[in-house]
Amino acid sequence: MKNNTRENYRPKSGQQTKGRASAARQTVSVSQESQPRKSAHRTHRTSEIGLFLLHHQQMMWQSLQRLLKAPIATFMTALMIAVALSLPAMLYLLIENAQTLSSRWDGAPQISLFFELEAPAESVNEVFGQLQQDQRFSKVELITAEQALSEFEQQGGFKGVLQHLSSNPLPATIVLQPKQVDGAYHQQAIAETLKQIKGVEQVQFDTAWIARLNAMLQLGQRAGAMLAGLFALAVILVIANTVRLAIESRREEILVVKLVGATNAYVRRPFLYMGLWFGVLGGLLALVLVHCLIWLLTDPVADLSQLYETHFEIAAMTLDASLLLVLTSGVLGWIGALFTCQRQLRMIEPR
């Protein structure tokens, strides 16, 4: 009789450790090996990996629920992360946009030929005629001194002022569009020949400012990368600190689960998911922030592009970039949480 009850009660070593590392089972199992493996209850068989994934899934949703139970605190932390992320994201976006802007002109370097003020209109016309015949240029445009003056008057609103001038201060200009030869513009050679033309005071390449702009953009890109690194560190620290507080507030629970045999991986799992969620929520909020900022910039950019007589619209973040932002943020959160767990959970041991 007694034996029977005992049969039911005695732990079966297999059931107990549930196929945990078999070495561990052998070494620490206290139960009797010789006992027949009979059980009144049938144990459901679920694979180890299935249970592992199930626990991950449970922890994932539980930690999200926990965060949403304190919506304001969670929102504040996520917003802090979002601000830290939206700064480098915004910088990246502006540089990206400026690059597309500069690349539009990159392929078409124009040459402006400025004549001396005293150069007679006839000789300017003569040069213009010659250049029109020149096969090296696809487009040759003449802006006479008079045309330049009237354009200036119309655009600048200097009508009254210019009337007081005794002579036209603007030179005649020929704008040249060189043809591409063998995939390159032979600017240097062209410049040499153009400078030889009588009456030409200055040869100006429009590409110079593009080169400068590109150099500046590269500098900006480098600075942006450094800034992004710093802000990533800030995100890690914010999440590490938040998770540290969460660990502290659940100290008793951690002690109890460690006492009843929880592994370190089990104990830290909810906190790692917490970091991940903070990262993801912060990343999503950063996307919202960035889109708001872009929306605010749309009108001024439209005005500006109208002044430059171009159609330029600031491009929003692509889907890829958005996904990358959220993913990176999530990973940063996870790293921050891991960093804290490694330090903090070691200190919370049953005493």
């Binding site: 007694k2 009850t5 005992r6 039911n8 009660y9 005695r10 732990p11 059931q15 107990q16 450790t17 549930k18 945990r20 590392a21 561990a24 089972r25 070494t27 620490v28 199992s29 206290v30 139960s31 009797q32 209850h41 144990t43 459901h44 068989r45 679920t46 180890e48 249970l51 592992f52 199930l54 626990h55 008793e252 629970e253 002690l255 109890v256 689960v257 460690k258 006492l259 009843v260 045999g261 929880a262 592994t263 370190n264 089990y266 041991e349 049953p350 005493r351």
Partner: protein, 228 residues
């Protein structure tokens, strides 16, 4: 129920704390499978230290300890959780989690040990049934009396059917009648083969029960009455 298989063995074990806190000194001890043993002595005699050494909460300063044939000296840090899953522990202060129901408290060791969610409810209810609290599974522990909380703690300790059960002053905060009930519960578990070690200074209660009694005094084992 006693059999000739050693569950716990202490070989000249000492534990000294760097803070000067009292530990244990030169303990030699053997507890066999299926035994029910009381550990007694005034407070500070080293009862808690002894229990902490068995669950690897503390590591000995000298000597060797075997639990279930495993030398704790050669136990890796990562193996400690597996050891603890095979030892049920009942605390004086219960150590229940007050943010979850009685059911969830008792289910905790099963979740940690990786039991299938389909097995958990049945096992939890079986454990709660044994301590007579089946009808209170949905209640939060705060709503329970001290004796009921202690019984939830016992249910949690036995839910995954550990072969060894340790209890540190399980009746410390209870009146004599409730204490008797709790001890009777432990005897029931012992009758189905669980090895039990109870630290208690309730000499009157221990005297009524006919079990082996170990007495500690200033960290030394001074008497061992009723052993085989």
């Amino acid at each position: 129920m006693k059999q000739n298989k050693t569950v716990i063995q202490f070989d000249n074990v000492s534990k000294r704390y760097p803070t000067g806190q009292s530990g244990v000194e030169g303990i030699n001890l053997k507890i066999l499978l299926g035994e029910m043993v009381f550990l007694t002595g005034h407070s500070g005699a080293g009862k808690s230290t002894l229990l902490k050494l068995i669950t690897a909460i503390e590591r000995p300063s000298a000597g060797q300890i075997w639990v279930g044939g495993q030398n704790l000296k050669t136990l890796w840090r990562s193996q400690i959780p597996i050891l603890r899953r095979n030892i049920g522990v009942v605390f004086q202060e219960h150590r229940l989690l007050f943010d979850r129901s009685v059911f969830d408290n008792v289910a905790l060791p099963l979740q940690i040990a990786g039991f299938s969610p389909r097995d958990i409810p049945r096992r939890v209810r079986a454990a709660l049934d044994k301590v007579g609290l089946l009808h209170r599974e949905k209640v939060l522990p705060i709503a329970l009396s001290g004796g009921e909380q202690q019984r939830v703690g016992i249910a949690r300790a036995v839910v995954n059917k550990p072969p060894l059960l340790l209890a540190d002053e399980p009746t410390g905060n209870l009146d004599p009648e409730l204490s008797g009930e709790i001890m009777h519960l432990f005897e029931q578990f012992n009758q189905v083969g669980v090895t039990i070690l109870i630290a208690s200074h309730d000499l009157a209660l221990i005297g009524q029960l006919k079990h082996r009694v170990l007495t500690l005094n200033e960290g030394r084992l001074v008497s061992d009455v009723g052993a085989l």
